[in-house]
């Protein structure tokens, strides 16, 4: 019998995905289109945030949206009804987006005239955190009814995001959600993260979010 050999590999498991993600990021950097990956649990307000963003920035920049859902087109229809170019990716049971799926969405969306593209990832705090989509910035939403303990349960998600939007602040008076506990837990995982409290329903904090987005876009275009 042949002797057993130990073959060194030392490769990143997701190297193909990471490489394609880098290529997408670079291509969009050259064309001046900022790609945002929006992640959260189901029902925390991703689509509502996109609608608020589209409304608030309609005279300021050209927005496009890539929607991902396991099996429906409801979100893309809502966004398109606002006059925002949108494509829907049906992941067919997959729980997350990877860079090859985002590449398909970018091909379907005419990106040339767009300043910002928001990718609405599959609603899930686990799987999407593990895959680089090619986005320049990762944004997540945590809504008040989900509770302030979520950074303890899903630490990876909080550690990979640039911005945390705490949505549904209009529910604060009806819950025992502790904003200080949340802040402390999130900052321990990710000291650089920007935390903005918002309510897509009342509009609270939306201006601060839109200002963040405008500044991020200005920085991005300046670095081209």
């Amino acid at each position: 019998m042949d002797p057993i050999r130990l073959i060194e590999i030392k490769e990143e498991i997701l190297s193909d995905n990471n490489q394609l993600a880098e290529e997408l990021r670079e291509k969009l950097r050259k064309s001046g289109t900022l790609l945002l990956n929006l992640m959260s649990s189901p029902g925390s307000g991703k689509t509502s945030l996109i609608l608020r963003t589209a409304e608030g920035l309609k005279n300021y920049l050209h927005l496009g949206v890539i929607e991902a859902d396991i099996d429906s087109t409801v979100d893309a229809e809502k966004v398109a009804a606002q006059g925002v170019p949108a494509v829907q990716l049906r992941t067919g049971g997959f729980c997350h987006l990877d860079s090859s799926m985002v590449a398909k969405g970018l091909t379907a969306l005419n990106t040339d005239k767009l300043d910002v593209i928001i990718v609405e990832n599959v609603g899930n705090l686990v799987c999407p955190a593990e895959f680089d989509t090619g986005a320049h910035k990762n944004i997540m939403i945590l809504s008040v009814p989900e509770g302030d303990d979520k950074p303890l349960k899903y630490p990876l998600m909080f550690s990979v995001c640039d911005v945390l939007l705490v949505n549904k602040t209009d529910y604060l008076s009806m819950s025992d959600f502790n904003r200080e506990d949340l802040r402390r837990r999130v900052l321990a995982l990710n000291p650089q993260i920007k935390i903005i409290e918002i309510s897509c329903k009342t509009g609270e904090g939306i201006t601060e979010w839109l200002d963040w987005l405008k500044n991020a876009l200005a920085d991005f275009k300046a670095k081209r």
């Binding site: 030392k10 490769e11 997701l14 729980c95 686990v126 899903y154 837990r185």
Partner: protein
């Protein structure tokens, strides 16, 4: 569920190395995965067994080493290791400071494989 994508990537990589090294059979594969990852070891192995059925990797055992979480103290700048369950109550073992932060970086590495 995302274990399936990860497992496909593992299989693709080891088959590439198997071809280059004229391997007849892969016996085991050593992986290093961060403790922060929610990948389930059992599911990776089950998906791997299913996907690798008709390849030289069929029957290979996945040896998964979990890499510890590294935390840096903002007080004394020393680093220490922690468990995911302790993230809510991290205290620096050197100076007692509570302002500490996770050192970023996900790690998912295929280290090596045993083969004949």
């Amino acid at each position: 569920m995302h274990e399936l994508s990860v497992t496909e990537a593992i299989l693709k990589t080891v088959l590439k190395h198997a071809a280059v090294n004229s391997v007849h059979k892969i016996l085991s594969i050593s992986l290093q995965i961060s403790k922060l990852s929610d990948l389930e070891d059992n599911w990776i192995q089950r998906y791997f067994d299913y996907l690798s059925k008709d390849t030289v990797a069929a029957g290979a055992l996945l040896k998964i080493e979990r890499l510890p979480l590294l935390v840096r103290c903002e007080g004394c700048a020393k680093s220490f290791e922690t468990e995911p369950a302790d993230i809510g109550n991290m205290v620096c073992p050197s100076c007692g400071e509570k302002k500490v932060a996770l050192v970023p970086g996900k790690q998912y590495i295929i280290k090596n494989m045993e083969a004949v």
